[in-house]
Every structure is written in C-alpha cells, then in structure tokens.
Amino acid sequence: MRDRAGPAAEAVTVRRPEAADFDAVVVGAGPAGSAAALELARAGHSVALVERGPFPGSKNVYGGVVYGRILDELIPDWYERMPVQRWITRRQTMLLSGDRSLTVDFRSQNWGRAPYNGATTYRAEFDSWLAGHARAAGAVLVPSTVATALLRTADGQVVGVRTDRPDGDLTARVVIACDGVNSFLGKQAGLHPDEQAAHTTLGVKETLALPRETIEERFGVTGTDGVDIEILGGTSGVPGGGFLYTNRDTVSVGLVLGLPGLAKAGLRPEEILAELKQHPSVRPLVRGAEVVEYSAHLIPEGGYRSMPRLGGNGLLLAGDSAAMCLAAGIWLEGVNFALGSGMYAGRAAANGLRSGGPAVLGEYRRLLEKSFVLADHKKLRDAPGLVLSERVQHRYPGLVCDLAEGMFTVDNPRPKPGLRRLLRRAARHNGVRMRELARDALTGLRSFG
C-alpha cells in the first residue's frame, strides 16, 4: 500500500501507446470539464471524464451566482432545466467600514424572466446536472478516481493520465486538465508560474437554513427571485471581501481572504466570518439561522497576469486550473469562465482530433481571445491588484462612509458642508492622498470603462 494518497509530484514517462483508450481524457467534472467533455462527445469523439469525488460537484464550492448566458451555446434551453435555487433579480454591493455601511442596491425583474441573467444553485446539483448532459452525449464519467500523474512520452508529448485505481493508466490523444485551483497536472507539466499563494484567495462559506418566508421577508423577494450581495470590507483587515446570497431555503454567507494577508493576520477564517455576521448590516439578514454546512475552497484570483500557460504538447488547461476566475470587485465570476474555457478547450481539441494534428493550443488560445473569456480578463488585468490593494481594502470604504455620513448628518445650527470640503476631510481622515485617488480612479476607469 502506498504510504501517501493523491497525485505524484512527477509525470510518468511511458512509451507512446499504439492505440489510445480514448480520443480525449478530461480530468475534473466541474463546469469546465463537463463543458469540454460535452463539446468533444457531441463532435463524435470518445471521451473519459475523470472525477475524484463520488459525484460531480462534491468537492466544489462557489461564491454565489452562475451566469448562464454562455450555456445558450451548449444547452439552448438551459434555464428551463438547470437545477436553480433562485434567479438573481436584486444585486447589492455593500461597503463596510467599522459598523457603518453603504449599499448600492439594484433590482431588475427582467432578470427573473427568460432568458434570465444569473442564478444561485448548489454545486452538487449543478455540476451533476451538467455532467449528466456530457454523459448523455456519450462521454464516460469515471467518478471516485483521482488523476495522479500525466503520462508523457520521452519527447514530452502528453498521452494520457495515471489514476489511483489498480491498472489505472488511461491513454488518450489529448488531455484536458480541468483539475481545479490546485491543478497538480498543470504543475506537473510545468505550466504554472511560481508564487501561487500570492494570487490565491481562500473562500469560506456557511450555508444557513432559514424558512422560505423568512428569506423572502428579509431580502424583499418572492417566488424564485433571489438576492446576491457583494461585500467590500468586513474582513477584519485581511485583504478580500465577502458575499451573501439566497437559495430557496438557505442563505449562504462567505468570505474571500487573500492568502498572504490571512497568513500574516493570525486570525482564523471562521472567526472573521463570525465577525462579519455580527455587522449591523449583515446580522439582521442571517439572525437565528442554523448552519447546515460549512465549506472552504481556494480561488485563483490573480486574473490575467497570473494565468499559467494554457497547455501544450497534447495538454490543455481550462477553468480554475487555468486561473479563469474574474475577481474584479463589482464582478465576481468564475463558473461562467469555467464553462466558456472548457467549451472552447473541447472545441479546439475536437478540431485538432479531426484534423489529426496535435497543435490545438494555438486554436484554443485564439478561441478564448475572441470570446469574453480572455477578452474580459485582459481588459480587467489590473483590477485584481487594485481591488486587493490596501487603499481599496481599507481606506476607500472608510472614505466613502465618511463622505456619506458627512452628507447625511444634520449638524444644525451649522450650515451644511460642501461636498468638496467633505471629500478633503474624509480623505485626510482615512489617509488617502488626492493624487493616489486620482490615479486609482484612472486605473479603475481604464479597467472597467
């Protein structure tokens, strides 16, 4: 018996197999893997979809919303069949500073009607549903199986994966690694840059049970409508943010914490979360709820600048393993990028298999750049740095709350202060220099504009 479970540190060198077991092996049945397998299977190729959990989604955690527009291409009537908890019709961005908060609240009932915008779901249900589509199209789902190593020929061509099952070598003409944020396969292939910790955040989440009527009362929604709240601040000083969203009978509240900051702070994640839940703006929403699940997962938040090489020599990366996760303050998206990158990886691999050539990486990259997947990441390449910067994390929430408090505090008999004076005073109070503010505004404008 092996003394240690899990992936080997080194790829395994094998001789080139005479006939591959499958046209393609996709590692990981998350949204990226299932989309890739679905695309490949629909193109008529034999695909094995290897999943280490007992069922797809059993190892996965996310921060709130699946934006399904990209599914239009894969499963045209997805919104009628997807296992949805609630459709997001109300989005809030909440800035917390001390026990103050400023919330931007937007509601659109258009998002609660076909073709819809985004939905909350449980990943155990969503990922299983999507993998079910891949299976129905002909992909072979192999659950409870860890892909432990890449199989490579002496000249570096990837020809399959080794799994932790007895007789576990699985050969294929192309391997798509959608093996998540820790991507041991991508690291074996040497695709990932060092300094992963600096670009990675830890997400912790509590799923809290509340009666459906209570959720509808507290969040001001009815039927299948739901709310998604992004929170800036409230992380006890650790760079990151929070989120809160509604499911049918539960509310999920969580934190995203930068790993370097968390390591330095000496605080425990669940204590920071308990602190967030005590904030006067959050507590009334989650009061009296019972924890039904506590979960944690890493998030690759570095964006475009920290992305690994996207493959090579018969290997493609998609989803979290390729850092396809957009954390740009007002946008927190990952599942849609995983779906998109997986779909394009599958498409590029299918085209490569059809033409018989192994050169699929170029086409994959081209497809990604043409679509939102890399276009958004490229455009917002400076956003993760800005969002996690000390100023955005600590000083600006204070500045904005000072400003709001100054505006709305009635200080009679003194006359109302002018906005410019308030801004100057708030900036001084929070240690923000006007020059920095202007520069960040410019960076923000360039990224988001």
Binding site: V142, T163, R165, P166, D167
Partner: protein, 296 residues
C-alpha cells in the same frame, strides 16, 4: 453437508441496501429528506460484497449483486460490477410513500422472489448485518425464511475452509462462536475484518457502460405481506387521562380545598428498620403487612 462447489450452478448473491446515511429529518413534520447522490451501501454491505467476491472467486461460483431500490441506486450496482460482480439486478420499489415504514419482511419477500425468478436459487446469500439507516437487522432472517435455508447472522468472520463455509460470531462477554455453515445459507456480516477492494480502472470503465437490468417488484397481494403500515391519524405526545377524584364533602370551601391537597391528613412517616436480629425484622415486616390488611 454440501459444499458450495458441489451445487450444479453455484451462485453467490449479495443483497445491498441503498441508503443515505446523512438523511435529514424535518423536526416539525418528521419527513425524512434524502439525497440520492449521497446514498450508497453501508460499510457492512461493502464487507458483504467483498466476502461474496472472495468466496465466489474461490469456488468458481457466479457472484451477483442485488438491491431493492429506486433508479439512482444504479451507481451502487455499477460499483459492484466494477469490483468484479458477474451480474447485478435492481428490483424497483413502488413510488415511495414517506409514511410507509420500512418492512424487513416485505423487503425480504420482494428480494427472494426476484432473485429466484431472475438469477436462480442462491447457494449463499450475503448481506450486511444492519442497514446503515438504522435498520433492525431483521431482513437477513426474513430472507432465510423466504428461501427456506440456513442462516448465520452477524458474523465477524466468514471464510472457506476446505471448501466449507466457516463463520465466527460474537457472543456476550467477549466469547466467540464458531459456526460450520451448510449451504444454501443466508449470512449477514458485521463491518469487520475485510474492506471492499478498490475497483480497477478497466473494470470501472466497463461498468460505466453496462446496462443495469431492473425488474419491477413482484406485487404482493395486500394482507399477505403482514407489513401493512399501521395507520397514524394524529401524532402527539403521550398524555395519560386525568385521574378523577371524588369531590370532598363539607360546607367550608377552604376545608374542601385543604382536603384535596391532602395537607392536614394523618400520615405515618416512613421508617427505616435497622436491627441485627433477623427474626425481629421479619416480625416487624409481618406486623406491617397485617396492619395494612395484606395478611390476615
């Protein structure tokens, strides 16, 4: 005593119970919420499958895995195929009525009839000792009764010695009981001694593509099952009826009330008799009983 290998078409059947060990019970309605994705065989059933695979392998018998469960249980049977079972069979259950209590007798009857009809008479039928969802462990005994064969239940060890089945069972006070088990037999095993093997990749790939045969449960006429659930009209805590006391007599309401409370009644306080002489103690007891009218 016959050996398993002596039978014409030796068959080892493993009956697996498909259950969600983390089912949630609604505290208000008592409704049980289960998740088919989390459901599967319990550890005892997994041990039973491993025993079945070993014994079938050693005697050249066919090994079949059977379950009485809804369609999502196919995954469990695929795993059994991947581990080396020669065939599997799913017996469908009627659409689940949450009020219907599980009945070991009805399960055993449905399983026994389906196994006989589809697979033949088993030389050995293996199960776990209890199902993971707090079963009573009665189903194996009912199965033995249905099949009219020997039973050896709650085994911690099961092995083949010179082609004969030998089992070991726990007794009270740490004692053990060694059993020589004749065939055909029903054996239930505790989750002990063995672990289910990990299925190899080729077997797993074959099992993923396999068609899982399913048959509807052979309908049993009502009244014949002996398993009709008792009908529950209302569920509330047990409250005994109030004890009726005769109303006290008297004109003064205060005295009537006092009499009800028993506050001013004459009462002999309890005594503890400590004496060294047994005869004196016996006299004391007899006098007490006579005094109270229990003795003449």
């Amino acid at each position: 005593m016959a050996d398993l290998g002596d039978l014409a078409d030796p068959l080892v059947v493993v009956a697996l119970r498909w259950a969600d060990a983390r089912a949630r019970v609604d505290p208000l309605t008592g409704e049980v919420g289960t998740d088919p994705r989390g459901a599967g065989p319990g550890e005892a059933d997994r041990c039973a499958l491993e025993h079945g695979l070993r014994i079938a392998g050693a005697t050249g018998a066919r090994c079949a895995a059977v379950t009485l469960a809804p369609p999502p249980a196919e995954e469990m049977l695929r795993d059994a195929l991947a581990c080396g079972a020669d065939e599997v069979l799913r017996v469908d259950v009627a659409p689940e009525d949450p009020r219907l209590p599980d009945s070991g007798a009805a399960t055993a009857r449905a399983l026994a009839r389906s196994i006989r009809a589809e697979l033949g008479d088993p030389g050995l039928l293996l199960t776990g000792d209890h199902s993971a969802d707090r079963g009573t462990g009665a189903t194996p005994a009912f199965l033995a009764a249905e099949l009219g064969c020997a039973q050896a239940l709650g085994l911690v060890e099961l092995s083949l010695v010179d082609g004969r089945l030998a089992g070991l069972r726990r007794l009270d006070r740490g004692r053990r009981e060694r059993l020589a088990i004749p065939v055909p037999a029903v054996c239930s095993v505790e989750p002990a001694g063995v672990r289910l093997r990990r299925a190899g990749l080729p077997g797993t790939l074959r099992a993923r593509e396999a068609v899982i045969p399913a048959i509807p449960a052979i309908p049993v006429a009502s009244g014949q099952t002996g398993a009709e659930p008792p009908s529950v009209r209302a569920a509330r805590p047990y409250r005994p009826r109030a004890k009726e006391l005769p109303a006290p007599q008297g004109d003064d309401p205060r005295l009537r009330l006092l009499r009800l409370t028993g506050a001013h009644e004459e009462r002999e306080p309890p005594r503890v008799v400590v004496t060294e002489d047994p005869a004196e103690a016996a006299d004391e007891l007899l006098a007490f009983l006579r005094d109270r009218g229990y003795l003449p």
